[in-house]
């Protein structure tokens, strides 16, 4: 299975799925496209896991994840025989996609717990290298699966009856306004702050507040939540909650400033080739290890600067901020099984309110999400004053 090469350069013009609701043909095309990509990606993940030390993969948590991947590969097997050519087959395939997405939802906290328990047997650099690759690959795999799911949902009989949202194309919102997400993250993280610390820091926004672009909302929400969480926590713990966190939005001159502009840009192209999966796939076409940094080198279009007065990051901590499971949060609290799941579930699933500092995966994972579509995160700390974080993002699928 692993010798099934990833033929990403030859994807060719057969990927114009267009905007939902899709015709039957287009939906089948999407299904087959998805089917062509997933097995190889899963196989590569399995191989990487197999290369980890025995004692690590024997850990029950890591082992569970390993078996999840094996399971997913096996349920896809019936579909390898031929193209998906009927709507019934497509329906079955979509169910398998849903199962896949569901099974792997808690991969990150589970892996985190496993690595925490195994920290005696594997060094931090190896963990970081493995996770950097694995989590980036995971982003792509889930995106491919979720995109097909979303397109399917938007194209089924019921969906066609409703008015379709002109801005959503599967998991992508083509006129996403970062300012809106920042405000909602401010409220969400503010709630947790109030619960834990009794104070609620504020955000002062300036710059191009109306800027919009095409991106995956859940990705942006995750990254911004993590960054705002860091800023709020530092602000409160240094006693500076009276100083608001300053968020500046910068938009390159070609970024649309309103939903209307965004829609106009979309309307100009009949066949919108939103083959965003190519961006992430390119990383895996070369089988080289440890790809870091922006995946394509096209320039970013929106930059968000988050400035806090939280005292900055101490110099001895600074080299570790991009490592997984490094956190200044109390290590004892993090070791307990329950709080591991609570912390992450609270933030990512909106579940039980719990500790604001998670497992130290926020920054490296946030960077993985930002870089997936060619963006980046840079952290500049001024010890004794505060920290400036620069999040640059690129709109997905430039309309040609």
């Amino acid at each position: 299975m692993v010798s099934y090469a990833i033929e990403c350069h030859n994807l060719g013009p057969g990927n114009q799925h267009g905007k939902p609701p899709l015709s039957d043909d287009a939906l089948l095309s999407s299904a087959n496209f998805t089917l062509s990509l997933l097995p190889a990606r899963l196989a590569h993940r399995i191989q990487r896991l197999r290369n980890l030390p025995f004692i690590v993969v024997a850990n029950p948590h890591i082992n569970k994840i390993y078996n999840n991947y094996l399971h997913s590969l096996s349920i896809l097997e019936p579909f390898y025989q031929k193209r998906i050519s009927t709507m019934e087959e497509e329906e079955k395939f979509t169910e398998v996609m849903a199962d896949l997405v569901q099974t792997h939802t808690n991969t990150i906290p589970t892996l985190a717990q496993g690595f925490l328990e195994c920290r005696k047997y594997i060094d931090a650099t190896e963990i970081t290298n493995f996770l950097d690759q694995h989590l980036r690959a995971r982003i792509g795999t889930r995106l491919i699966a979720e995109q097909h799911l979303a397109l399917h949902m938007a194209s089924t009989a019921d969906a066609r009856a409703l008015d379709s949202d002109p801005y959503n194309i599967g998991v992508i919102d083509s006129s996403l306004q970062p300012a809106r997400i920042i405000r909602s993250c401010e409220a969400f993280v503010g709630d947790i702050c109030e619960f834990k610390y009794g104070v609620r820091p504020k955000i002062d926004m300036n710059g191009s507040i109306d800027a919009t672009f095409a991106h995956v909302p859940v990705h942006l929400e995750y990254v911004l939540t993590e960054l705002i969480k860091n800023a709020f926590r530092a602000t409160v713990e240094s006693g500076n909650e009276s100083h608001p966190v300053e968020v500046t939005l910068a938009a390159a001159p070609d970024v649309p400033m309103s939903k209307l502009d965004a829609l106009k840009q979309l309307a100009l192209a009949d066949e919108t080739t939103l083959d965003f999966t190519k961006d992430g796939l390119a990383e895996y076409c070369t089988l080289s290890e440890g790809v870091h940094g922006p995946i394509n080198s096209a320039p970013p279009t929106i930059t968000i600067r988050i400035r806090d007065r939280g005292g900055g990051i101490p110099p001895d901590v600074l080299p570790n901020i991009w490592s997984y499971s490094f956190t200044t949060f109390n290590a004892d609290e993090a070791a307990g099984t329950n709080s591991v799941n609570d912390g992450l579930n609270a933030i990512t699933n909106g579940g039980n309110p719990s500790s604001i500092a998670g497992l130290g995966y926020g920054l490296p994972l946030g960077r993985a999400y930002a870089e997936y579509f060619g963006g980046s995160i840079a952290v500049q700390s001024m010890h004794g004053w505060g920290t400036d974080v620069y999040l640059s993002l690129q709109g997905i699928g430039k309309v040609v």
Binding site: G207, S208, T248, L249, A250, A251, A252, P253, V255, S297, P299, P300, T301, T303, R305, G312, P315, A378, Q380, M382, H383, G384, W385, D388, Y390, S392
Partner: protein, 431 residues
């Protein structure tokens, strides 16, 4: 030289080779290979290790200046200068022949060799008279070498297709760092001599407001930013077309002080502020009150960080990846033309002094670059500033918000106990 000069009967398949051929012919006519010299003298000096200095050593040494100390400093300089130049010469000698024979680079090479010859022949310094003689030679040498930077960068740009851009950048970086190092120890010694010889000098520890040679014991970040800012505002007001000059607001830990070589700091902060002011003025053409430049000074136990934030629209996409390079990027050939207009290449740069410039105690080689017309984009300010910043174990980082502005972070080590960051021939060879 034209590709289509009718008199040459080139066959079609050779036509694409023709320009290279013609260029090679043309250049070989202009080639002025540097003179060959026996390598034994150089070999000897290249074998000696470089003894790097720290800021703290620089000023502690000169704080209580006795005759013995001055002589000791003279002999340190007498040994270090030829050693350091030897390493540079050997580095240059290993560049491709075609590169070193570029007229500008061969000019620099000759200059260095001449300096090497005169330094290595300096006799042991035993008396104050010996020291004065040596200082005279060193001082002349410093003046002669003022035009090295623009010359070197011009030569590098002209040779852009003869060597990989990365190797070129690395070479220029090494050379400039080494140049700073030689000038620091030379200028420091000259300054100490001058202090010692000045009427009324007695060997007591200098007060904190003094200079110890070139090192200002208490550089106050706020004062320097304010002075450099005013100077940059003046220059831009006279030369830049755009909005009114933006204000510069300074806040944060404004009382922070640290020991530093003042001219280095003034150059770096001056470049950053001038870039910011110019960007804002051009971005806000016609405005009466463009947004101010915000400077933040942050003091931590071991370092001071100066953050300069402007709203000048950010750095254009096409040059962003090449900010720190001397020779890469789409605008590198334009810089060649601008470099030709820097007066230091022509005659003396003493003539180019804008009245009321900052009062550095001794005219330094950096002034000539700071006083140029801001419309001349040399593309050197940032990489040079970075070299200066990193020279004393500090740093310079830039973050651009495209469409909005730029944040520059200048890190300065407060302790002064880190050694100069130098690269010796041995360490280059070891790689």
């Amino acid at each position: 030289m034209s590709l289509h000069s009718g008199s040459r009967p080139f066959l079609p398949e050779f036509r694409h080779a023709a320009p290279t051929f013609q260029r090679a012919l043309a250049t070989s006519r202009q080639l002025q290979a540097p003179r060959w010299r026996p390598a034994s003298a150089l070999d000897q000096w290249v074998e000696r290790p470089i003894r790097p200095m720290s800021l703290r050593q620089l000023f502690f040494f000169g704080r209580t200046l006795t005759e013995d100390r001055l002589i000791s400093s003279a002999n340190y300089v007498r040994n270090e200068l030829p050693t350091r130049i030897a390493h540079r010469l050997r580095d240059m000698q290993k560049l491709p022949y075609a590169v070193v024979t570029n007229p500008h680079l061969s000019y620099v090479y000759e200059l260095y060799y001449k300096a090497f010859e005169s330094f290595r022949k300096l006799p042991n310094v035993k008396t104050l008279e010996d020291n004065d003689a040596m200082c005279k030679i060193i001082s002349e040498n410093l003046k002669e070498h003022l035009s090295v930077i623009p010359r070197m960068v011009t030569g590098v740009l002209e040779c852009h297709n003869l060597m990989s851009a990365d190797d070129m950048d690395a070479f220029v970086n090494r050379s400039l760092r080494a140049r700073i190092s030689r000038r620091v120890i030379a200028e420091q010694h000259l300054a100490l001599t001058e202090t010692y010889n000045s009427p009324g000098h007695s060997p007591h520890p200098s007060s904190e407001h003094d200079f110890v040679g070139e090192v200002l014991l208490r550089c106050n970040a706020q004062d320097i930013v304010r002075d450099c800012g005013q100077f940059a505002q003046r220059v831009c007001r006279d030369y830049v077309q755009g909005s009114k000059v933006p204000e510069i607001n300074i806040r944060g830990h404004v009382t922070a002080t640290f020991p530093y070589v003042l001219s280095h700091l003034e150059y770096t902060i001056g470049e950053l502020l001038r870039n910011s002011i110019q960007a804002v003025m051009e971005h806000y053409k016609g405005w009466d009150q463009p947004p101010p430049i915000e400077v933040l000074i942050c003091e931590a136990p071991s370092q001071v960080v100066i953050r300069i934030s402007d709203q000048g629209g950010g750095i254009p996409r096409d040059i962003l990846p090449y900010l720190w390079s001397f020779n890469k990027g789409p605008r590198s050939q334009e810089r060649l033309a601008s470099l030709g207009q820097v007066p230091a290449l022509a005659a003396t740069m003493q003539e180019l002094k804008i009245p009321g410039g900052p009062d550095t105690p001794r005219g330094s080689s950096l002034n000539q670059l700071s006083f140029r017309d801001p419309k001349l984009r040399l593309g050197m300010g940032l990489p040079m500033s970075k070299i200066y910043a990193e020279y004393w174990a500090g740093g310079l980082e830039l973050h651009s918000l495209e469409g909005y502005g730029v944040d520059a972070f200048l890190q300065i080590s407060k302790l002064g106990n880190q050694n100069e960051q130098l690269t010796s021939r041995a360490s280059i060879d070891a790689v």
